[in-house]
Amino acid sequence: MPRLLVGPFNRVEGDLEVTLDVQQGRVASAHVNSTMYRGFEQILQDKQPHDALVFVPRICGICSVSQSVAAARALADLGSIEVPPNGQIVTNFILATENLADHLMHFYVFFMPDFTHASYARHAWHGEAVARFAPQTGSQTRAATAARQRWFTLLGTLAGKWPHTQCIEPGGSTRAVDAAERIRLLAKVREFRGFLESQLFAAPLEFISSLDSEAALLRWLAEDPLKGDLRMFLTLAQDTGLRHLGPGPGRYLSYGAYPQPGAGFAFAPGVWHAATQTLNAVDAQAIREDATHAWLSDSGGPRHPIQGITQPEPDKPAAYTWNKAPRLDGAVLETGAIARQLASAHPLVRELVGSYGGTVFTRVVARLLELARVVPLMEQWLMQLRPGEAFCVPAQLPSEGTGVGLSEAARGSLGHWMTVQGGRIASYQIVAPTTWNFSPRDAAGTPGALEQALVGAPVLEGETTPVAVQHIVRSFDPCMVCTVH
């Protein structure tokens, strides 16, 4: 069977190589390799627990805040620290800013440029795609980069800089917001809303969130098929078969996003089973990381992260990546915006996934829908702040114990598990979203989510980096540096 080695894979975060076995113009099997290892879990050993807040954001320059949030939650869990409502709101707001910037960046800078490729030149929309999405020169690429810059001034104010802010503490946020400042922040959120409503959606955010069926989506598309960048994407998707391209494993994980002061989440947690259309509670105790095919020690078999070990074995036979294979109750899961929208019962995403599965198309739709759903929440959160009340309580950490921090990054479910002994970190394990999505085979030989999604992808005559493969890989918005940390 002909083999294709694809890499370097850019417009993803970090380093990725994919090996494809090709049969009759289609991918028969895929192996996914994260080619770089830095060893944060080893670096964190023996550090002061609070110092994790300096190290973990630097796991990743694109979802740095989500790493901070998971670490802060693990520390808060360790110290039984109750975050005051203001601190909770500002933390959610900062995380949402990063998550939405990632969605924007993914669509305009990472994903859409593939449609400007010369291999699409014979399609009627190609000229328009080049004009809008060509890297560095496309009108929309440039406009989105500028909008992203303005958007991130929110984090200039609240977080000092981005990435690698130290403003998120187990006890809240180091930056209090006063009443006047809240107005300035609100003005910036509205400015971003303006970009989304004029350029991306060409419609009000609330209208986009209210699209509750494929029929409604298609009616709106038919009104003006190229107006706004979402409709341009829908037009392309119909023409290029993205609806059916790259189906994942059909099980979706979300830890729940944006916990609210008091209780509950803005987007509920759960494991969604597409085949049975059922939502189950997440049992994080049932997670095991299997290192059979990683260049890492797998002594003792698959382990729960609280017992996890990370020990490089670069010469291990049968290994092909630095990534471990996480499984929940033994099952392969997909995580990301699509999982959050399924778990939180958005009717459009549930219907689309019911019809087509988790595919390139449904992943991108879920991500863009999240932009429309979260911006109004951010406006509400700002109004819920109570200037004058505490934003942060000091953290008293015990010298022995464990802490778990679960969060939702743009790319999906992120967990940190920490054990402290004698006032030092004895063990720190991280399971990142792309660790799930881009996991290698496990001991039973079951491929990970992307490895499954790539099977069946068309490989055209003469293609060395098949464009369908690029769409599928990028539809997950992978973050390789997080994956292997």
């Binding site: 890499g7 370097p8 894979f9 850019n10 417009r11 975060e13 380093d15 990725l16 080619t35 770089m36 290892y37 830095r38 060893g39 080893q42 670096i43 550090k47 609070h50 807040l53 300096v54 190290f55 630097r58 990743c60 320059g61 960046m105 800078v109 990472f110 400007t116 490729h117 890297p135 560095q136 690429t141 500028a146 992203r148 810059q149 991130f152 001034t153 200039g156 104010t157 609240l158 977080a159 000092g160 800089k161 981005w162 990435p163 690698h164 802010t165 130290q166 503490e169 809240g172 946020s173 180091t174 930056r175 209090a176 006063d178 490089p312 670069p314 934003f391 942060c392 690029q470 540096v481």
Partner: protein, 338 residues
Amino acid sequence: MSGATPAFNVLWLQSGGCGGCSMSLLCADTTDFHGQLRQAGINLLWHPSISLQSGRELVDMLQAIVDGQLRLDALCIEGALLRGPHGTGRFHMLAGTGIPMTHWVQQLAAQARHVVAVGSCAAWGGITAAGDNLTDACGLQYLDATPGGLLGAAFRSRSGLPVINIAGCPTHPSWVLDSLMALAANGFTEADLDTLGRPRFYADQLVHHGCTRNEYYEYKASAEKPSDLGCMMEHMGCKGTQVHADCNTRLWNGEGSCTRAGYACIACTEPGFQEPGHPFHETPKFAGIPIGLPTDMPKAWFVALASLSKSATPKRVKVNAVADHLVVKPVARKTTLK
């Protein structure tokens, strides 16, 4: 553009880092990021986040540079160079090539007119070299403050300059843009670099300059817990008085800085910042006096002035220093006295 100077070709590669310097760069305080590069005559040959070409197309481009067929004006490296395990470089293989990134970087650096380390990882090893440095991470020309690194202390690029270390974690977008624009304009000499190879235009400043907490500093009115408004030098680990960078006068993307967001400067532009030898957010002290005193200040003077200023601290400054908002406001006085 006929007759104009040829474009300044920049190649950007990432190794043992997080990609954060690139992500920060795209937040540069400009309404048109790509336009700014173009106007400066900078041609981005390839960048991992924003270029179209994947796989084979890139490998062919790299080979053309190594073979001397494509001119490389600036090689920008982001992330530490991972020399392990056992000197093989296998902790980072350039995907699709089966060749360690360290090997690619050495070959490309030999052809480049300028070599630029973007961020503290590429400059000194940075956070990737923390702990026992199990990946044997280093910078292009340093490991922490020790010259050497991947390319060696004696390395000079074709321009004759050593590696230009635009240190910071992540580095500031305009430190990168201004450096590249100066290089493209041939406006950069060895005299523009400090003793650690950092551009002096930002490294000749201290973080402390322009900090909004300077009044608290004057009176040694100190923050005691995260979110307090006071100076963070005495208890919260702030190294702003010793750290070379203009973070508080050239705000990040036009807006923020670490100290303005309520947390300490941890010296991210300095070699070895990743292992300070004490908890990051606590100030190490001896007999109640911070060990790391302002760079230019004799200790006895500091002690004398600190006790004097503490005794003279206005109530407003003292009270506000340990709150997260102004509790005591400045008194309104007539300011039109003749």
